[in-house]
Symmetry: D2
Subunit: 243 residues, 4 copies
């Protein structure tokens, strides 16, 4: 049984009736709801919860953390970000959705600005699968088509992904690396582009399938952190004369 | 339930009593035996079986093929190699063990000579885990130590692995990329170095664990092959005037 | 001084006046012509030359081979393909243009079908740069726009590139990995998508710049092939007792 | 002409006569000295210089920055680290030597702890070349042997390198990813392991050759930073009806 925590900023839902209409339980509620269809244990947490809902207890029992944020990246406490990072390096999976590209946690794990081009103009998006062997696209066809989405365009300022799984085509003329995996320490990270708050993207069956697959892929391997620091030799080292 | 076929050349076992003593059921028998401990359906096939035991029926129902060969790579029928390659591109997982680095199937999938340095001199081998988040090393410690093994040394003439999971240290002074993943078409490939026929390597618990993990990792995603060839446009293409 | 050989099938130029009008000296002649602007020594070779113009003498003195083929991949002699492959593994750079994706030499070096979607329908193509630090895109803007080109669409059945440098957007709704690097043995390979014979693509300044940059990037490192085969130990191996 | 700045912490040289004997001009002086043999313009800068010697003027005119630090990573001003990072993303090459693995600049660009095993015990080190086509190993043989060096062992907590060029064998039983390239923004990064202050490593011809090659490889491409932020469509976006 995989323990998932869905974290959502949950601010658009408070301010914007369009968003509230699409996601009456919040984006976190919608994601939690379809994840429960799988054999997954799901909790939710939001920015305005105490410690953003990410207490030590929650983090330590989370196998995979899903992250949606947009308006208020700066309000996320640096100390919490540090803890989340530590947990990822310890093995917790991390799935960053859409505008989470600019979250503190993603930027600190990537080491780059994570900047991109964007446009809210009802672009059609078509996500083409370029790595068909990957478990994250199990059950998905050649592409996923979204009638209307926010555009994110290259250059996306990220390190080259360990595995590039999806590339988006946008009606307005741009492309984007939309499904990217990374390994950091003992942890696995998946960035997945779609999910602007004013579109019903997380109600799309194929988008849901990708996120379910990603949860399963990102769950920790059963391993301790490697041992670091001063190390005794495992073999005899010959004494050398000063040359 | 994953369907595994363990393919073995099975010649050393016929000729060399040392090998027969270590693997009385053959290397294929030993591998099949520990795989059955997992919820896996296992068949075996050998070079001297009709069609090398790799009939269309067997191949079409195999999710993951494990390959051990050494003396008689040249005796493997090109037509069978072509079929195995086709199945890998269709999604069948492929695990190449040890001297299988020089098999026709591995060389044709890699596009390089797959050559390397080697020595049979009872080197100690220590396989260090360099990608601790990977499911193939679930349950494995910082390294696997083998008291005696054949040495394989760099340069190993392979394409850069998609993921490098293990690196070997050898007593005689060499290193080697010992656990390498590749994606080809819809299929996933894992090369795993240890397993010289005169050592009891496949009786080692951690080696067994890696192979079990690799079977689980290599199983096909539920996908058809992509559609290739002439394609109708998905969007309207504007008529252009000759410039 | 880099020695470049530009190989061209040179058949469309014989049959199709449209192609001949665009490339009166042949595609090979056009490419050779702009390469000579750099400090590069350029030869050309075509399918109908003896030994396809790729004699041992030519191959052995070629630092970077550029390859354009389309109609007659099957007419390329397997023995010549083997020699070209050997030279790539020895260090010769290889630049595969456009429909060369289906050449014997590219397929054997990749190990996959190299299949793709295609359409001749005057699609607009926009090649976005996704790896801005790479010397192959030195001097290139954010994207290269081609008013009309043949469409190549994903899934492109290649191994994941070592470095993905460009991604194409097509008017008809597809995307494509258009600039891909690979390392094979001592050699470097660059696949570059554009260049359908009925469009003046190789007269485009930015396309020319990319090919010039690629020549410079692909030139061999000053190295012998590694030594393969049986190897004496570099360190003392302890004698082991039979356990 | 490439403009190189060699940055050195320069503290061991002040405290330890052994280090001063090996590097009478400091490690920075030794590196600057052999780089000048190439057609390279070299400056040096040290921790105790004003602004650590990395003024805006120096940074803005540096094509490739070489970094050696060990004892005093924490004394490097965060504001300077931010500027260096910005310059790397703008295109400046960065070569991190040895104990620079724990520098603020490397850790922030990697996003991981960059931790490792270490031992000062006169281990023999042998750096094997695993990517023979790379310009960084131009002119280098199959391996570089160092009679005595500090040991660094896996697991090295870094992202999977874009290109893994060298792997070290250590006498005491460990291995290490010793030559690693990364791309971040417009900049190229090379991590190169050897160079403990009490050994004459930077006087070794092959080590010098690698660093010279790396300078040439890391120099910036001629490019502006990509444009980020809100973007007008390049193609017409159809108006959609609310569904």
């Amino acid at each position: 049984m995989v323990n998932v925590t869905v974290w959502n900023e949950n601010r658009h839902e408070q301010k914007n009736p369009v968003v509230r209409d699409i996601y009456p339980e919040g984006i976190h509620g919608a994601i939690a709801s379809f994840l429960k269809e799988d054999q997954v244990e799901v909790k939710t947490a939001t920015l305005d919860d105490p410690e953003h809902g990410l207490t030590d207890d929650i983090l330590n029992t989370t196998d995979v953390l899903i992250w949606w944020g947009h308006l208020a990246h700066d309000e996320v406490d640096d100390a919490i970000v540090d803890k989340v990072k530590e947990r990822v390096l310890d093995g917790m999976g991390l799935i960053i959705l859409h505008s989470g590209h600019f979250s503190k946690i993603f930027k600190t794990l990537m080491g780059t600005t994570c900047d991109l081009k964007w446009r809210e103009a009802d672009d059609k998006e078509r996500l083409w699968i370029v790595e068909p062997s990957h478990p994250i696209v199990d059950g998905i066809g050649e592409y996923i088509e979204l009638e209307k989405e926010e555009m994110y365009g290259e250059h996306f300022d990220i390190p080259a992904p360990d595995q590039l799984i999806m590339m988006s085509w946008f009606e307005g003329g741009e492309v984007f690396r939309s499904g990217c995996t990374y390994q950091r320490g003992n942890g696995k990270i998946f960035y997945f582009r779609p999910g602007h708050e004013t579109y019903p993207t997380y109600h799309n069956d194929e988008i849901q399938r990708v996120i379910k697959n990603a949860v399963n892929w990102a769950k920790p391997a059963d391993r301790s952190r490697p041992v670091y620091g001063n190390a005794k030799p495992l073999e005899t080292i010959k004494e050398k004369t000063d040359s």
